[in-house]
Symmetry: C2
Subunit: 429 residues, 2 copies
């Protein structure tokens, strides 16, 4: 029979156990912390009608897996979790109690050119507060960011917070007369501040839209000025209220954190068209090159794709793969279960199975050997696979236990004796 | 602007937080128990080349979401996790150490007619031991089934174990001369024993393939006979060896479980073409109508779609949605976090945020109110959403805590006093 070539699709990935284990543990930690904040998990379909997802702007329309299904429906694989959430809220409007706090963890798809670290399918993790435009909700989102990063133990970090409507006000003042497309180009240029610096961004703005190099430079200077907010005060009551809410938001978060984890930075723009208020990015001080590991903001208009009513939202995305990169630095290979258990051929299988069950009942992970190997081969396998301990049933009443790191070996006459040694707490001095 | 109709695709589902929470907890429990057994999580892509998935037989080829991607590749959404596993093993043959123990949890897609409880996208959970054909591996799989069902606390259960090669032997003896298609029809008929009974199955076999009603009835009687195995002994050395391994497998599992959780039942056929040895199904005694909640078996030929070498496998699928149906019976609505926290308008937000942080640091889930409501509305909301406790910051030094079930209310002068009351263990008598 002709063999089929075993190959995954270009741009897609298999994630092997040693990586998936860390990813799953990270996702479970996020779920637990989210639960402490009252975020409930929501799951929506991987496939949606194309009109649900397309037409928001940006590159996404070109990067989508779109096809006609068996019922000739025009469908897409979702490319983010935000539009499906908006669809869910709109479809169940009046039924889902609002405000709602939603956690979503799921795979999304982008038919873009694969690059190092960028795949056509990857997991997103979003948290959103839907149905209220309050400072309290903005604060809750930022507090969650600080708490989840502490819980994941990724070291020191800073959350840089900007505000799209304040940025708009600055632009109207300093770069008046731009249309929407022009303003979008300015935002995209501003997003590059970290990478290319102020001068280059000013030049980029002058190149892309109809403003002078001087005006562009004044604008860039204003948004990177630590006192920008004060200078804007007193121009209009609406703007004053926005500045006050924004300043207070950051103050409350820092006060509650007991340190300045949140920093005002008006140059945070976030490229996506749909943000309308607070926007933020998060950097790990020991891993600055990873870029933002946790980003988000307020988007009050997205659900109105579907509804007459406005349903204001504020949310964040946790950058799972970037965080995993930070966490896995310098880690060495480790077996899934710490103990490898095998038996001499003359020892009955039932005895090994019972011993494994007893160890597992104490919470000790056991990989019971399922393949006949010679003694030396068993140890070679255990060493290569990174097991911490090897337990060897040499005879019915001769159980050996070897610590792989030290080579230390002990022998026991019964499973009970071994168990007592392995699971009892260390003796008090 | 014209509004887009908010609608999910037919046959797909949104899973709301109260259901997802239970599902996520169940999946995490499975992951933990699997880890105790040394199963590592593997994740493969949602999309595969069509030739990887199609042509295994059965209904699947017709029920697949298949399309040409942007690069004109012929691709399918995966309809199970077994074929992607086989592809992964074959693609990495010689690199992945074998035997390997893999846990997979992921969504699969079937473009079939939606029915009650059957969706076009659903989550599968598979555990497989790849690369060894040993009784030890068969035992490990059955032991895992008993342990995971105990850990999930779904009540009493029975694992019914059959064997495809012994069934083949019985068929060759009692219904000789059938071709592959005929044999497949017999297996499909046998699968219906539970639902339609022995007589109807015999009739079905006689209708579908070229055998007499009497021969069909003799065959059905043989596979449902408790002594079938003994009667088969002594016919051939190979069959004797198979019967001995099969009998011992069940004995070792029961011995280790301390009770007869595993029952020999040769009528377990499992429709899928690819099983080659042991096959099993699992029923919950308090929920027989759910059907099998955990099924699987040995399939030694599947990887040879891709490879010249045989890579024997044995595995199981955990029926997540059926188990969830069993677990959620009679449950009432519950909020994600047990505590609802709100403040009077004159209390600063920072105080509420700090109190929430302190409670969460003790592991207590807090849904901090993010919407201005009147006092009565706050309590009405808390009652409807199923919160256990409501904490109300009436003034900076007046914190009230109400137990929603009893209506009991206590008042505290400081966060510290409240915390002590909520988190300290009950006083010793």
């Amino acid at each position: 029979m002709k063999k089929i070539k075993a190959q995954k699709l270009k741009g897609f990935m298999d994630v092997a156990p040693h990586e998936m284990r860390q990813k799953a543990a990270m996702m479970e930690k996020i779920r637990q912390v989210a639960e402490l904040f009252g975020f409930g998990i929501l799951s929506t379909p991987t496939l949606e009608y194309s009109e649900t997802l397309l037409g928001v702007g940006g590159e996404t329309d070109k990067q989508v897996f779109r096809f006609r299904d068996n019922g000739d429906r025009d469908v897409c694989l979702r490319f983010d979790l935000t539009l499906p959430l908006a669809r869910y809220i709109a479809e169940n409007y009046g039924k889902v109690p609002l405000p709602a706090k939603c956690l979503q963890m799921g795979n999304v798809f982008r038919a873009e050119k694969p690059q190092k670290g960028r795949y056509r399918e990857f997991t997103q993790c979003d948290l959103d507060i839907v149905g209220v435009d309050s400072m309290d909700a903005d604060v809750e989102v930022l507090v969650f960011v600080t708490q989840i990063l502490r819980a994941l133990q990724v070291g020191e970090f800073v959350v840089r917070v900007g505000n799209r409507s304040i940025l708009n006000a600055l632009q109207q003042q300093l770069l008046p007369g731009l249309d929407d497309a022009g303003w979008q180009s300015v935002l995209i240029a501003v997003d590059k501040l970290d990478k290319i610096g102020e001068d280059a961004v000013a030049q980029l703005i002058a190149d892309e839209v109809q403003v002078s190099r001087e005006d562009a430079a004044r604008f860039v200077a204003a948004i990177t000025d630590a006192n920008a907010l004060e200078q804007l005060l007193g121009k209009s009551a609406e703007l004053d209220a926005q500045i006050q809410r924004f300043t207070q938001t950051c103050q409350v978060v820092n006060q509650s954190a007991g340190e300045d984890v949140v920093k005002v930075d008006l140059s945070i723009a976030r490229g996506l068209g749909y943000y309308t208020g607070m926007v933020f990015e998060t950097n790990l001080l020991q891993h600055l090159s990873l870029g933002s590991v946790c980003s988000g903001g307020r988007y009050n208009g997205l659900v109105s794709r579907f509804l007459r009513d406005e349903v204001p939202c504020v949310g964040l995305s946790v950058g799972l793969s970037r965080l995993q990169a930070a966490l896995s630095e310098g880690q060495s290979a480790q077996s899934v279960a710490p103990i490898y258990l095998f038996r001499a051929e003359e020892v009955p299988l039932a005895q090994a199975v019972s011993l494994a069950a007893a160890l597992r009942a104490e919470g000790l992970g056991v990989d019971l050997s399922i393949k006949k190997r010679k003694l030396a081969q068993h140890f070679k396998h255990a060493d290569k696979a990174g097991f911490a301990q090897v337990i060897y049933l040499a005879a019915a009443e001769d159980i050996r236990c070897k610590q792989m790191s030290s080579g230390e070996e002990a022998s026991y006459a019964s499973a009970a004796a071994l168990l007592q040694d392995l699971v009892s707490p260390p003796a008090q001095p």
